[in-house]
């Protein structure tokens, strides 16, 4: 409900001007948001010739919004120069793996933090939260060396493997997931699992039979958060992945090389790799937004 504005009785014309200004402002916001996306879509339908010959200084060849020749060739050839389909597969495997393990590990930890009373609870919560303070750069070097040494002394290769990447990203995802899920579980009444225990369930049984079915939205939210995090991560992917596990987030840069810039193909690939993230987000927008907001406002 809008509050009645005392000025509106006196000056109806002013009110109309305010409405117009309001819609103009909304339009401006939308334009600023959408321009890069429109440019991306437009670029993905241009021929590579059109983009290569574009020149802001030459009147006939200025870059245009509407492609001179509309083509689908960039989508058809998306996998010709860069094996983006392989990268897409790698990203899917790593992101789903991360999603799965992050859910499993976060549920049990969040359950313990929400329902158990034990020594060191505060310290553990603080430790979990503290991992969010350190930038990736503060441990990427020793982490890389750790992988190298494990391979050397234990003969287990973690670099450029799916398990190594899933382990890495799962760990990146769990601190936020644990805290978010703990807040969620705190809002589920304790009487419910107390009752389950009276009815003869063990703690683990209560978790599986009562808590998990009740916390569906929370679990979905952290699952999607973990998936998106793994799909988008750049820093560790650039060090720890090679040809066999390269993800789309860094693979996409290969369209531009010293020799050739394939902008139109890159724009097509940009659209394709955004699809999973956009789908998941629109699907679960409410839960994620709630999670982010409560995470930020509750501290």
């Amino acid at each position: 409900m809008m509050m009645p504005d005392p000025t509106q009785k006196r000056k109806p014309s002013r009110r109309i001007i305010m409405r117009v200004l309001l819609y103009l402002a909304v339009f401006l916001v939308l334009a600023v948001i959408l321009i890069p996306y429109l440019w991306m879509v437009s670029g993905s339908f241009k021929t590579s010739l059109e983009i290569q010959s574009a020149d802001v200084m030459r009147p006939g060849l200025e870059p245009r919004w509407i492609p001179r020749t509309f083509t689908l060739e960039n989508y058809a050839k998306i996998n010709k120069t860069v094996p983006i389909a392989d990268y897409f597969k790698n990203s899917l495997i790593i992101s789903f793996g991360t999603m799965f393990f992050s859910i499993v590990i976060s549920i049990t930890a969040a359950y313990a933090l929400s329902r158990f009373n034990f020594r060191g609870k505060g310290a553990i919560t603080l430790g979990v939260a503290s991992t969010q303070l350190f930038p990736g750069i503060s441990f990427v070097i020793p982490y890389f060396i750790l992988f190298t040494l494990i391979n050397r002394y234990l003969g287990v290769q973690l670099r450029n493997t799916y398990p190594g990447m899933i382990l890495t990203y799962t760990t990146f995802a769990i601190p936020f997931s644990i805290l978010m899920l703990r807040n969620f579980l705190d809002s589920v009444p304790r009487e419910i699992d107390e009752q389950a225990q009276i009815d003869g369930c063990s703690r683990l049984g209560a978790l599986f039979r009562v808590i998990i079915p009740l916390s569906g939205p929370g679990i979905v939210a952290i699952g999607i958060y973990s998936f998106i995090m793994a799909w988008n991560e750049v820093l560790f992917a650039s060090v720890l992945t090679g040809r066999a596990t390269k993800t789309v987030a860094i693979g996409i840069m290969e369209y531009i090389t010293q020799q050739q810039a394939r902008w139109s193909q890159m724009m097509a690939a940009c659209i394709v790799i955004s699809i999973p993230v956009l789908l998941l987000f629109t699907f679960m927008q409410r839960y994620i937004v709630e999670g982010i907001v409560s995470g930020a406002t509750k501290g």
Binding site: V26, P36, W39, M57, F116
Partner: protein
């Protein structure tokens, strides 16, 4: 906590936490502390295979960073300066845009829900997509920015945006575009938490919209603002993707600590020196957090 079966200490909890604790130990804590140790070594690609024989050089790496005699140290300190400039601009600008749009979206208009969903688009778009599109937009010869700057007569010749000192500005523009929706989302939630009665009372007292903003809206948003700024200040030093992707991996003159450390460690293969720089960065972040916490505490005391 209520006195019931929940009040009792339960050791089983540790088993529930163990997997998460092991992961974080392996990926976060051991490497962070080990990184401090490595920063005292002259560890490079030659000594890496013979890890135990890497010579201990004490503060050698740190001397390289701070003495001012070495190009590496100078470039690193420059990168710290760059990230501060980057933050000093992106954080306030992003906050103001986020707040203005939040105020706008808090009013009634047709299609409000739709617009509220849409503003999240930049926030959820993968970094690698968003910054590659901006890289396309900033291209000198075929980009949108130069096209319109020329059309408006603001420049006579196409500007090379993504090379040299100017590239920092390109990154700032692109990251503000990507970053403000997050703040907007949080501020909008804050706005919705302000009781409507406050505005009603103010209006009866004849307060102008500006006075209402100054006396009600802004003070009521203070806790949210504080959290938001704190997160932004910390995240500012995490900056990597926007620089690495927008500048196509060759960051050149617009290095920030993360990109510079990556180059030193993984292109020049100086792991020890890279770790030392990472330690310096961590110390800077920890100092900042301590200062921010102090300020926060003082502010809350005032409020009481």
């Amino acid at each position: 906590m209520e006195a019931s079966s929940w009040g009792k200490r339960d050791r089983k909890a540790y088993w529930f936490i163990l997997p998460a604790a092991l992961c974080m130990l392996f990926v976060h804590f051991i490497p962070i502390f080990w990184g401090v140790y490595i920063s005292f070594l002259d560890l490079d690609v030659y000594t890496l295979t013979q890890w135990t024989s890497a010579p201990w050089i004490g503060l050698g790496n740190f001397i390289q960073i701070f003495s001012g005699k070495f190009a590496v140290g100078k470039k690193f300190l420059e990168s710290v300066y760059n990230v501060i400039i980057y933050g000093v601009i992106t954080i306030p600008v992003g906050y103001v845009i986020g707040l203005l749009v939040a105020l706008l979206l808090n009013r009634n208009f047709v299609g409000r829900t739709f617009v509220r969903g849409l503003i999240l688009l930049p926030y959820i778009t993968p970094d690698s997509v968003a910054y590659n599109v901006w890289r396309f937009i900033f291209q000198a010869r075929l980009g949108l920015v130069n096209k319109y700057l020329l059309k408006l007569g603001l420049i006579k010749e196409p500007i090379v945006w993504l090379v040299g000192k100017r590239s920092l500005w390109a990154v700032i523009i692109a990251s503000v575009w990507k970053g403000w929706p997050f703040g907007c989302l949080i501020l909008l939630a804050g706005l919705q938490g302000i009781p409507a009665e406050l505005y009603e009372a103010a209006r009866i007292d004849g307060a102008s919209p500006w006075q209402q903003f100054k006396m009600i809206t802004f003070p009521m948003l203070r806790p949210v603002t504080r959290t938001l700024l704190m997160m932004n200040v910390i995240w500012n030093f995490h900056a990597y993707n926007q620089f690495y992707i927008l500048l196509g991996g060759s960051v050149g003159d617009a290095h920030v600590p993360s990109t510079f450390i990556m180059q030193e460690a993984f292109t020049n293969l100086h792991y020890g020196l890279g770790s030392a720089m990472a330690v310096v960065l961590m110390v800077i972040i920890l100092l900042l957090i301590t200062v921010l916490m102090q300020v926060k505490r003082k502010n809350t005391e005032h409020a009481l």
